[in-house]
């Protein structure tokens, strides 16, 4: 998979380039020339989502070009950009990654559908992706044109925390399976430990097991 940054000086672009320091040959998957894209990855929370998205793209053995952006809006609110991205970038598939936070999954998926519909977009059907209760696909139509919105919810149910976030996955790799605030624990982890975890994700099996819902979703686009 090739990544195209709509804003090449954005924090996600910088963070993904920095993976090169961990021996990911990330430059091979980053496109610097203007490219047409039909799929866009939207980061609902920011970092370290961006690095994980870079690693997941690095593992996809396809030549598909995918855009990646971090809008100002966060979490479920990020889905309010659906119409804008669809109409301005003319993409056919939007893949959002957001944290579960403290919300039940059903409630979250319902909120996402409501937010999509509030923009005048018709959701013709929606279904969980086979094998994952954290990835839901919404078939959408706007002005007679069909497109797909995919919601990927970060967090691990077996990570003992009241709030589930993408850091659950990373801390589990560090041998930590419980934390009242996983984001804070991740931020305070020593840099070399964080780098070792990110480097361990070079193993395809490790990333598949650590980020099952994300890997499944990336494989479908």
């Amino acid at each position: 998979m090739k990544l195209y940054f709509s804003d090449p000086t954005s924090r996600p672009a910088i963070n993904i380039h920095r993976l090169g320091r961990l021996t990911y040959n990330i430059r091979d998957i980053v496109l610097s020339v203007p490219s047409e894209i039909d799929t866009l990855i939207i980061l609902g929370n920011g970092s370290p989502e961006d690095e994980i998205a870079g690693i997941l793209a690095w593992h996809q053995k396809t030549d598909k070009i995918v855009g990646i952006v971090k809008p100002d809006r966060h979490h479920v609110d990020a889905f309010r950009t659906t119409k804008s991205y669809f109409t301005s970038l003319k993409v056919e598939c939007l893949l959002f990654i957001i944290d579960q936070d403290q919300f039940p999954l059903d409630e979250l998926f319902d909120s996402i559908e409501s937010v999509i519909k509030e923009q005048g977009i018709a959701v013709t059907s929606s279904q969980l992706l086979a094998g994952s209760d954290r990835v839901k696909t919404y078939e959408c139509t706007l002005a007679g044109k069909a497109f797909k919105t995919i919601a990927v919810i970060s967090g691990l149910p077996d990570f003992n925390s009241p709030v589930h976030v993408i850091e659950d996955h990373l801390l589990k790799l560090a041998g930590i399976i419980s934390a009242p605030n996983a984001k804070e624990v991740w931020v305070q982890l020593p840099k070399d430990k964080k780098e070792a975890i990110m480097t361990s994700l070079k193993e395809r099996r490790t990333v598949m097991e650590a980020f099952p819902q994300h890997f499944t979703a990336f494989s479908t686009i």
Binding site: P8, A13, I14, H17, R18, V33
Partner: protein, 381 residues
């Protein structure tokens, strides 16, 4: 310390100018950690600490370019550099000549601009390396002594000769003139880490140099390798760069596209030209330290991240990079990709004394959150 010839060059041994240089051997990764000034150009006194990647920011007339120019001169103002200035007549140019080219005016030819207020008699640049040399010294001094209409150069590393002027005896390894472009050179060896200055103002002399040395350059295959890299930044696919008479029978450097077409180098985008020239100059000159003035000129955001990646490679391989910019976006991108090695240095002149403040990217962001633009925050100094 022993003398060796060009042991640090791997791709361009055939390039004639480099054969002439003796280089004082350096061992391991040595960086310039500080440069101190006395009466040099607009700086009466002051010093600045340097890091693997130092980004100089500050207002106009804040001594950013002067710092880079001093670092360019320090290894020896009379060494060969990959530029050619037709009016100077020496090929290739000596390091001091591109500085004249940058500061030349319509009517004036000479080197008075090197001295503080144009009138100071003694100027000094001292660079401090982070490792001592074999003689146990980690400082390289460059003294500029103006007597009558002559500026004499002396260094603690040079082979000086004795010159008598009026009633005074001078030690000097080279001289330039307050009025006139002649150079007298007694020692052209490189005294410390080799530096290369890149500036939008030096595009023409760089291009003229490449034209004259093209046969040597193209045979190193540097041009082909860089063409491939440049292709990643452009919708056009470049196979190589060639020297051909495409228009009007005159030889020009052309981008040779994979579909067989040629585009003159001068007709490529300014950003591509700037990056291309810098990459080629770096490859053929192989400096330890890259100095890039006004780096943001003509650079598109996509180019910034490519340059940030290139700087990562340079720093990893033991090079040092010192750049100046007015763009906080550039500082954020280049510094962000190389966060661990980067220091951002706000510079300013207060009563001609150099003031500096080292900052991290985090500091920049914190200032921004407070509504303070670090580039113009002399109050921080």
């Amino acid at each position: 310390m022993r003398l060796t010839t060009c042991h640090y060059l791997n791709v361009s041994a055939s390039i004639s100018f480099i054969k002439q240089i003796d280089v004082l051997a350096s061992t391991g990764i040595e960086l310039i950690k500080e440069v101190e000034f006395s009466n040099f150009k607009g700086i009466e006194k002051g010093k600045i600490e340097l890091h693997p990647l130092t980004i100089l920011i500050g207002s106009n007339n804040a001594a950013k370019s002067t710092i880079l120019e001093a670092l360019f001169l320090a290894p020896n103002p009379f060494r060969n550099v990959p530029y050619f200035i037709p009016e100077s007549q020496s090929f290739p140019s000596k390091a001091i000549e591109p500085l004249y080219y940058i500061h030349r005016t319509l009517d004036y030819q000479g080197y008075a601009f090197l001295m503080y207020n144009y009138t100071s008699d003694n100027a000094k640049i001292t660079i401090t390396l982070d490792h001592p040399d074999e003689a146990g010294s980690n400082q390289v001094e460059l003294n500029l002594l103006k007597r009558q209409q002559t500026i004499f150069f002396r260094s603690n590393k040079s082979r000086n000769r004795q010159i008598s002027i009026a009633n005074e005896t001078m030690q000097s390894f080279g001289e330039v003139y307050v009025n006139g472009l002649s150079l007298n050179i007694a020692d052209a060896r490189v005294f410390s880490e080799q530096t290369l200055l890149v500036s939008p103002k030096l595009t023409r002399p760089a291009y003229e140099y490449l034209k004259r040395e093209w046969a040597s350059i193209v045979n190193t295959r540097v041009s082909k390798r860089i063409a491939k890299e440049i292709s990643k930044l452009s919708p056009e696919q470049y196979a190589d760069f060639t020297m051909e008479p495409v228009i009007g029978g005159q030889l020009d450097i052309n981008a040779y596209l994979e579909d067989g077409r040629r585009i003159r180098l001068g007709d490529l985008g300014e950003g591509i030209q700037s990056y291309l020239l810098t990459r080629i100059l770096f490859e053929i000159y192989q400096p330890k330290v890259l100095l890039w003035d006004d780096i943001e000129s003509h650079l598109n955001p996509r180019m910034l991240i490519t340059i940030a990646d290139w700087f990562s490679d340079l720093i990893k391989s033991g090079h040092q990079v010192i750049i100046s910019t007015h763009s906080l976006e550039l500082a954020r991108v280049i510094g962000g990709v190389n966060e661990e090695e980067t220091k951002i240095c706000l510079t300013s002149l207060k009563n001609s004394e150099l003031q500096t403040k080292l900052m991290t990217l985090k500091d920049l962001e914190n200032y921004k959150a407070l509504g303070v633009d670090a580039r113009t925050a002399e109050a921080l100094l």
